[in-house]
């Protein structure tokens, strides 16, 4: 489109084509029905105006017509429903092996931390062609992470992790908008997502530098906060052994089962009394107020990295793909 008057957003993700396809179908059908109604009104208004058609013909109705214009729109809507749902399902299921970036939204900025430890503010560098999964939470109010060029958004909530994924298909710099009203500088809580060729991305990672990967930072916190005291890596601990726990189903003391996803780990740190693992006592203290969102994410990354036990050490430097990413 014209540079000064863009009328359509760029497409820069794998899903963008599908979203636009559905959009154009909706647009086409809507335009058809709108023009149909406009045309009918115009034609009837002229053809049957009082001066040429002084006597109205009383018509009670027509059951076949009513059924037709009820069922046909319903059928068309079901097509929209099916396609829209398919896209939504894809958006809700990040592929395995996605590169993970942790995101903290706060009034009024975005903070990013790559798993390899690089941190960014209001800018997110990602490689082209790679699935990227964002694990997000807010430090204060509800925000929303929105990249129009990727056609995805998700609310970023306080007290809970939410997720969003995309696969960039075009290099470039794209708008990042906060799209849930969050106070004074909501409209300035904007940034950029920068998609780079893989080689350039690697170069950027090296140049950027990091003080430890996220799981490493998490491991440090795990020691500093005293978690290791109870959560030993044998069966002697007063708390469950966390090796391999992430992504598995956990049995609780009241008979319920839950999947140990990011939100389960988060709740276990901040409000352990809410869910007690079967066979253990409710003695874990709460760390509410003692850990920041970033620290929580580091701890989650660390526990994820314990998903596959290593021969000698319980921890690992990388986070393998979780069994089932089910951030509810």
């Amino acid at each position: 489109m014209w540079k000064n008057l863009p009328l359509f957003p760029e497409r820069a993700s794998a899903l963008a084509w599908q979203v636009d396809g559905l959009y154009f179908l909706l647009l086409g059908v809507s335009a058809f029905f709108t023009l149909l109604i406009f045309a009918l009104i115009l034609v009837f208004a002229l053809k049957y105006r009082r001066s040429v058609h002084p006597h109205a013909v009383q018509i009670e109705g027509s059951l076949p017509l009513e059924l037709a214009w009820t069922l046909i729109p319903l059928g068309i809507c079901m097509i929209f429903f099916a396609w829209g749902s398919l896209i939504y399902f894809q958006e809700a299921r990040p592929p395995k092996g996605a590169m993970e970036v942790y995101v903290v939204g706060k009034q009024w900025m975005w903070k990013f931390e790559h798993e390899t430890g690089q941190r960014e503010i209001n800018q997110l560098h990602v490689p082209i062609g790679r699935d990227v999964r964002l694990v997000m939470s807010s430090q204060d109010v509800i925000h929303d992470f929105f990249v129009p060029a990727f056609r995805v958004k998700a609310d970023v909530l306080p007290g809970r992790f939410t997720e969003l994924w995309f696969r960039p298909t075009k290099t470039g710099t794209y708008h990042l908008f906060c799209s849930q009203y969050c106070g004074t500088d909501h409209s300035r809580m904007i940034g950029q997502v920068i998609v780079m060729e893989p080689v350039a991305f690697q170069a950027w990672l090296s140049a950027e530098g990091a003080t430890g990967t996220l799981p490493e930072n998490g491991q440090q916190l795990f020691q500093q906060l005293g978690c290791a005291t109870c959560h030993r890596f044998d069966t002697q601990g007063r708390g469950p052994n966390l090796t391999g726990v992430f992504g598995k189903t956990v049995l609780l003391d009241d008979g319920r089962t839950v999947v140990a996803d990011e939100n389960y780990v988060r709740e276990s740190i901040l409000n352990p009394g809410a869910k007690i693992v079967s066979g253990f006592k409710p003695i874990m203290p709460s760390f509410q107020g003692q850990v920041s969102e970033e620290s929580l994410m580091a701890l989650v990354a660390y526990i994820k990295s314990l998903a596959q036990p290593q021969p000698n050490e319980p921890g690992g430097n990388h986070a393998p793909a979780p069994e089932k990413s089910n951030v509810q």
């Binding site: 009241d254 409000n271 009394g273 509410q288």
Partner: protein
């Protein structure tokens, strides 16, 4: 029916109704509709309660154990008796006995105030135990062997307790006011065998408020009989 009964009815007929039957049916229908809106009003709180209780059952059990079951049960009995006296009062109005109606409705008021008094005692108890949500909230189960597992969500339980019983108590106060008005109007000769619809409608309101309590009591007081649920 005596002429005086019918005269009372005619006096009460409003100008836009064709006859007393239409007026009575309309005003009763109106009261039922109003009670439907009240169900939706309390409904929001019940919905919040159900959601949190489902997610944080243990916290709710522990909060509920700090309720005084005896006071709550007494209050339930008090309200049920007040509904009885209310219903009998309506019957007295129907029989054209305004003095009997006044006595029965007075009993209703006394019982209603009794309910509010017991509620005040309970509220005071919870207040001094730091069981009012906010910066001064501090929850302890009172059993050293079983410390509070999830005080954060027990505070939510108490928020809902105060909100739901507080809203109910407000409705009781309004109800007492309405019954007082009926007594005064009744003693002034406003009702007769042919016209006692306001008495019936206030009765409906009173029974509704009673019914809300019948739901509140088990939900707030009787969550789990055993310690540690």
């Amino acid at each position: 029916m005596a002429t005086s009964d019918i005269q009372v009815a005619e006096h009460a007929l409003q100008h836009h109704f064709a006859d007393m039957e239409q007026q009575q049916e309309t005003s009763t229908f109106g009261m039922w509709m109003f009670l439907v809106t009240e169900i939706m009003f309390f409904g929001g709180l019940f919905c919040a309660y159900l959601v949190y209780r489902a997610s944080y059952y243990q916290a709710f059990v522990e909060g509920s154990q700090k309720m005084n079951i005896w006071l709550g049960a007494t209050n339930t009995a008090v309200l049920i008796c007040s509904s009885l006296s209310m219903a009998l009062g309506v019957r007295a109005a129907q029989m054209g006995k305004p003095k009997l109606m006044a006595v029965l409705l007075l009993i209703t008021i006394v019982l209603g105030c009794g309910f509010l008094g017991i509620k005040a005692v309970e509220y005071h108890e919870h207040w001094v135990n730091h069981e009012f949500p906010g910066p001064n909230f501090h929850f302890e189960t009172g059993d050293p062997a079983h410390p509070a597992t999830d005080p954060v969500h027990t505070e939510i339980y108490f928020s809902l307790y105060w909100a739901m019983t507080g809203l109910h108590a407000l409705h009781m106060v309004i109800g007492v006011g309405l019954v007082t008005w009926i007594i005064i109007a009744g003693l002034g000769g406003a009702y007769s065998r042919a016209y006692f619809t306001p008495v019936e409608n206030v009765g409906l309101y009173w029974h509704f408020v009673d019914l809300v309590w019948i739901y509140l009591f088990p939900l707030l007081y009787l969550i789990s009989k055993k310690h540690g649920g």
